[in-house]
Amino acid sequence: MQKKIIKLSILLLIIFIIGVFFIGLNKNSIYDTKSLVGQKITEIKLDHFSKNKIITGEDLRKNNFTLINFWSSWCGPCRDEHAMLLRLNNEKNLKLLGVNFKDKKNNALEFLNNLGDPYDYLARDELGKHSVNFGIYGIPESILVNKDLIIIKKFIGPISKDDYNYIKNIVRK
């Protein structure tokens, strides 16, 4: 009887260890923010880039869809995605909110003058503190939200052609 219990315990222990490794090794260890899709962005208070005004959630509720794009003039990949943002600016149902992240005002303006300004609203986050409200951990990052400010998708890194097509399909529905 005692031997049986010991054998069973060892077997259970082995199954447990294999189970832990199986789950642990199959799990994606790279952090992503997929879990945030479907969440509502609550506190939106962003300083307007040039005017003495605050951009709030109420401003974004007027649009069917808003793409909140975090960018900076010192960020290389932001240059790569800029052409896609300019194309997205042509979509009727979509407005673009650009958040200039930890940047110098002059450099940001020069960046937009050289490459074009795709943004309907332009905000400034000088210290990067407001970006935390959006779950941003690097730039470029973009968040597609609907009228109710619910996150439809988060784009980590520059907007690719596939991302562009995805956004286009959603806003044209």
Partner: protein, 121 residues
């Protein structure tokens, strides 16, 4: 006079104790936060762009009088439970938290039974 001095120091002592209870140690909080873009570093250890921003936000929240739990809850809401090294107890990880206690109790039970068996002999 002596009684007054004793009362003075007692009140002072209570005040210091209360102050210590209510102030949140920013370093402790930052050490429990994972730098999401670094490898194996906490926010306290890292000097990355992300870590610098989180440090500012945590300090702001402490100055606003937020408790340690409120700060973690805020950051978990924004970045997911991955951001904290010591995640809060929930239905996904409860086994991880309770298993050591179970093992402790079962182990204690086995030792107790073995001792009782030896005594019976």
């Amino acid at each position: 006079m002596r009684i007054k001095i004793i009362i003075f120091f007692t009140i002072l002592n209570f005040n210091i104790l209360n102050a210590e209870t209510f102030s949140v140690d920013s370093n402790k909080v930052l050490k429990n936060l994972r730098c999401l873009i670094c490898q194996g570093q906490s926010v306290a250890d890292s000097n990355s762009e992300f870590a610098q921003t989180i440090k500012l936000v945590v300090r702001d929240q402490i100055n606003d009088g937020k408790s340690e739990k409120e700060i973690y809850d805020f950051l978990i809401e924004k970045y997911g439970a991955w951001i904290v090294y010591k995640p809060p107890l929930n239905k996904v990880n409860f086994v991880l938290w309770l298993l050591p206690y179970f093992v402790f109790i079962i182990g204690g039970g086995i030792i107790f039974l073995l001792f009782r068996k030896r005594d019976n002999r």
